[in-house]
């Protein structure tokens, strides 16, 4: 028996030693998912108290001094800043655009050394006028040429992992940098709390871990989702005391009394819609001034470089060619909770699903499969300002006035009749407005405004129809859902002109689709005998010289595809005059 106890002790000891040596990446159950729709996490980001940044150079130097005084073996190191933490105050959109187009700068519109009390989706410094662009915070590498825009140096930063002069020079130096970071974290009071909520100042150095996860967004039409709920089914009666824990003899001795217990069953409900991967979204992981980023892949997965402590996860709704805003001047964000572990996020509801869906449409236009049309990239290289408006309305394209810095480029309203619109509508409206921008950038802004409304609205309508259909057909093929696979955005406007505003005609759609609406809706619809054009062919061969219906008809006749006759073209246009 003694031998057995000894064996158990040895086994336990081995287990403890082995688990404490565990250096593998911290990993949470992948089934853990964070539902995004928490009302309090939307709206204004609210800051708490200012914190001491362990990466601030002054703190690192103090940490070095502590180490040096504690051990003679500490190597002599000249700690020089690796970065500068600073903030800019752009005076106008032009200056802001300059900062945004600088790929070295990772801009935040809230300070990085503050506690965040309400995660929020946007921030504006309350000390500035309401309509002023807010301070832009960033961490720039030493030696960076600072643009001549009003700025303040907040403090110098030392990030050991970026200290290329000392890093990897020797195992001793590597260990020193680890010790230095730990000491700075300790002296600034940022050590993680232990199970008792106390700062674990005597604990082991936390292992490095990799922020990663999957970002998904809800779509109303793609796929289907089955949910279950437990419902009462019936009462089950049994003899009280009838329990396996009691010996059989006792049961028979005790008086028989009837007890009842509820029996439940599961009911399953299948609804249209599901979470789909959010592709090519910019995910940030940040601990104070240490920032790492990644773009989500086709499965919504991201993975950044490693950290040692908890990070603030966030999505910045921005890419190289566009910037999604809350209202006119506020950068849109999704701020996740501070954690050490995977960030598996499902976005559903609120403003965040609007940003995510606008991102989907913008990504398709600017980077994805846009069916070969001219991308809406602004000629001056600035980012397209896509403004989300949390109210009732549809969408507006203001024209390319970016260089003037006065107007937003595009606005999309998210609500109708008091509720958020379905995702296919938001996707369509964003694709439509960017269709205008693609058109104006292709033919020139001045020419664009000389084009008749029927031409530019019908073209944007065709772009909206084709891109939205393609998105739903592609994602429907991946994730299922009859409504997505068979999707026909706004029914291709085939009921025009009866139910559709005149200028939003299907004239371009009719060149592409294989539906003749006259055979469906009757004689007061166009007789569409044409099919087989592509959006791309129309864009590059027909659109440039089409300023009105007459010139459009001529251009189509001049660029007929196989099987199309002049008579077919005249027939299609017959109802337009």
């Amino acid at each position: 028996m003694k031998k057995f106890k000894f064996l158990i002790r040895v086994t336990l000891l081995f287990t403890i030693v082995l688990t404490s040596c565990e250096k593998e990446d911290f990993n949470l159950d992948d089934t853990e998912r964070q539902e995004s729709f928490v009302e309090t996490s939307e709206g204004l980001i609210v800051l708490g108290k200012q914190l001491e940044d362990p990466y601030a150079l002054k703190n690192m130097k103090q940490a070095y001094s502590n180490l040096k005084s504690g051990s003679l073996k500490t190597p002599d190191v000249d700690i020089q800043p690796t970065h500068t933490y600073m903030r800019f105050l752009p005076n106008n959109e032009e200056e802001w655009g300059m900062l945004k187009s600088d790929t070295i700068l990772v801009l935040y519109d809230f300070p990085l050394d503050y506690e965040i009390k309400n995660l929020g989706t946007y921030y504006h410094d309350s000390s500035l006028p309401e309509n002023a662009i807010t301070w832009q915070y960033c961490v720039v590498p030493i030696g960076y040429n600072i643009p001549s825009i009003q700025h303040e140096l907040l403090y110098e930063v030392y990030i050991p992992d970026d200290d290329n002069a000392n890093l990897k020079s020797s195992p001793v130096m590597n260990q020193f940098l680890i010790d230095l970071e730990y000491e700075s974290v300790k002296l600034t009071g940022n050590l993680p709390e232990n199970e008792n909520g106390l700062k674990n100042t005597k604990g082991l150095l936390p292992s490095k871990w990799t922020p990663k996860g999957t970002i998904k967004v809800w779509d109303n039409l793609i796929g289907s989702t089955t949910t279950s709920r437990q419902v009462f089914d019936h009462w089950e009666y049994y003899n009280c005391g009838e329990d396996d824990e009691y010996p059989m003899e006792q049961k028979t001795i005790a008086p028989i009394e009837q007890c009842k217990r509820a029996v439940y069953r599961y009911e399953y409900t299948t609804t249209q819609g599901s979470y789909i991967p959010l592709i090519q979204t910019s995910v940030h992981a940040r601990w104070f001034t240490h920032i790492e980023r990644d773009l989500t892949d086709a499965n919504g997965y991201f993975e950044t470089c490693q950290f040692r402590y908890k990070v603030n996860y966030a999505i910045k709704w921005e890419r190289g060619h566009y910037d999604i805003r809350n209202g006119m001047i506020l950068q849109a964000w999704y701020n996740g909770t501070k954690k050490r572990g995977n960030w598996n996020l499902n976005i559903k509801g609120g403003e965040s699903i609007m940003y995510a869906t606008m991102h989907r449409a913008a990504y398709k236009h600017f980077y994805g499969n846009n069916l070969g049309i001219r991308r809406p990239i602004l000629i001056d290289g600035s980012k397209t300002k896509i403004c989300y408006r949390d109210g009732e309305g549809t969408g507006v394209f203001w024209g390319d006035w970016s260089s003037s810095g006065i107007f937003p480029d595009i606005q999309v309203w998210g609500k109708e009749n008091g509720s958020y619109k379905p995702t296919n509508q938001i996707f369509g409206t964003t694709a439509h407005e960017l269709g205008h921008q693609s058109h104006s950038q292709y033919i020139g802004n001045i020419q664009f405004w000389q084009t008749s409304k029927t031409i530019y609205e019908s073209w944007a309508t065709a772009v909206e129809w084709a891109l939205t259909n393609d998105e739903y057909h592609t994602m429907g093929a991946r994730f299922g859902g009859a409504a997505a696979i068979d999707y026909n955005h706004e029914a291709g406007k085939q009921s025009w002109p009866i139910f559709v505003t005149w200028e939003y005609s299907p004239i371009f759609i009719d060149l592409i689709d294989n539906v003749n609406q006259r055979t469906i809706w009757g004689a007061n619809r166009p007789n569409d005998l044409i099919t087989g054009y592509t959006l791309s062919y129309i864009n590059y061969n027909i659109l440039r010289n089409s300023y009105g219906l007459s010139s459009l008809r001529n251009e189509i006749k001049n660029h007929k595809i196989s099987g199309v006759t002049d008579a077919d073209v005249d027939e299609l246009f017959a109802l337009y005059w």
Partner: protein, 143 residues
């Protein structure tokens, strides 16, 4: 310079207001208030954002289907229940049915907007159609 900015603001707002878009929403609700199971078989149904195709709906007693169309324009209700549908069977308990065609003058024609109860709030139109026991009484045997 100030005049220039003012000019851009004025011109910009004029241009932008020219392309402001409006939408009108039209809801259709079909409610089965009869005591029978109902199946709707719609031929060439043009459901919102879907290709035109034959479509069926099951409506147990006291259930309803709701669908809506969004059209461009400030006052643009969609007046065509089930889109360009050609005809419809309303089948009761799998053995009786009523057939309506697009141009039927029958005042109960479910494909005719005039058979619906209507309500309008700004640019939101709502149409409701109730399938009743009286419809069941008027249905004919499926041959």
């Amino acid at each position: 310079m100030k005049k220039f900015i003012l000019l851009i603001v004025v011109v910009g707002s004029l241009i932008s207001s020219c392309i402001r878009e409006f939408e009108t929403r039209t809801d259709f609700t079909i409610k089965n208030v009869s005591t029978h199971n109902v199946k709707l078989i719609v031929f060439d149904a043009g459901m919102p954002n879907q290709n035109i195709k034959d479509t069926s709906f099951l409506l147990p007693p006291n259930s309803e289907i709701i669908y809506y169309y969004i059209l461009d324009g400030e006052d643009a209700p969609y007046n065509s229940p089930f889109g360009p549908a050609d005809s419809i069977y309303i089948v009761f308990d799998d053995n009786l049915r009523i057939i309506y065609r697009r141009d039927d003058l029958n005042p109960r024609n479910i494909l005719d907007i005039n058979s619906y109860d209507s309500e309008q709030v700004d640019s939101w139109y709502k149409y409701q159609y109730f399938i009743t026991d009286e419809d069941y009484e008027n249905a004919e045997n499926i041959e």
